[in-house]
Symmetry: C2
Subunit: 164 residues, 2 copies
DNA sequence: TATTGTTATACTCTATAACTATA
DNA sequence: TATAGTTATAGAGTATAACAATA
């Protein structure tokens, strides 16, 4: 899990949604707003993801740990629904987390078709230790926002999600 | 390029940033705002991407076409910077677009180390035809927003990006 | 027969590092 | 030597479909 040094020059992240440079788009007033959404989210990921990867986790893996934290476990199908991946994909993610010793598949006696996925003690430790650290990391930036600004931004985003 | 029917039950998209279910997070006021950001962006992708894929393109491929449209071509390094991928990754993306006949590598005589990537006539056609179609598709949803709402949302996002 | 999850298959993207060709 | 881009390598995620085991 060597600390990767990216070759890219830009200060940026993973996925790019194609709203960046479509000039005709300017005719539509909503396009500049959507471009702003994409850029803002990408800027957030560019800040967020390297810290997650330093912890030796990928974003989907982190998501699974976060989802399992403070629960008594979840079944594959529940977990897939929560984390928005298909069951086949989740199998691979859980496999890798199991290899890392962070989760465990438990077969419940009452229904031996399914697995209850639970955090191992090591997984709990990650959830307890590493997550607060990540939040502190985020706080460095987002702590700057006033409560008023936060509410404001949040309600703008909610309005946007509403129509989707 | 068969029309894929996703197995997932949830109405959702690709990548999930791990901000969904981390309960301790609630202690920090900014966390709910960040969760809203992630959910809103994901909801957008869930709406946006299937339409792009119906056109036979992946999001990064669409991004390249969009970036090349209305230009006289760009070099690999410029294109990599614009689309925020590394040069090695871009090679593969351009390869696949070339296979599809949408872009072409032109060797400029004055510097034979580099390639000018240009849209083929077919690529132009995609840019001219398919993009407006995609915008109409987006308009179905975002056309609902008033100009006042748009400005409001956009400035909220800008404020957020400012601190990143 | 229906449900749960795995496996098989295939593809795209991601990144780094070593390499080739040109300058 | 420096630059532009490819190639090699490796790994993660994505999806679908076929399958096995259980119910």
């Amino acid at each position: 899990m060597a600390n990767p040094v990216k070759q890219r020059k830009a200060n940026q992240s993973q996925e790019t949604t194609p709203l960046m440079d479509f000039k005709r788009a300017e005719k539509e007033p909503f396009m500049s707003m959507l471009r702003e959404l994409a850029q803002t989210y990408q800027a957030f990921c560019a800040y967020d993801e390297p810290h997650i990867r330093e912890l030796g986790l990928t974003p989907p893996q982190f998501d699974v740990i976060a989802t399992l934290g403070n629960t008594s476990g979840m079944f594959m199908n529940q977990l897939a629904e929560k984390t928005l991946v298909t069951k086949g994909t989740l199998t691979g993610i859980i496999d890798r987390l199991e290899q890392k010793g962070l989760v465990r598949r438990k077969v419940p006696p009452e229904n031996r078709r399914c697995f209850l996925i639970v955090l191992t003690p090591e997984g709990e430790r990650v959830f307890e230790d590493v997550f607060p650290a990540h939040i502190s990391y985020l706080k460095k930036r987002f702590g700057q926002l006033t409560e008023y600004e936060l509410t404001h931004i949040k309600s703008a985003l909610q309005r946007l999600r509403e129509i989707l």
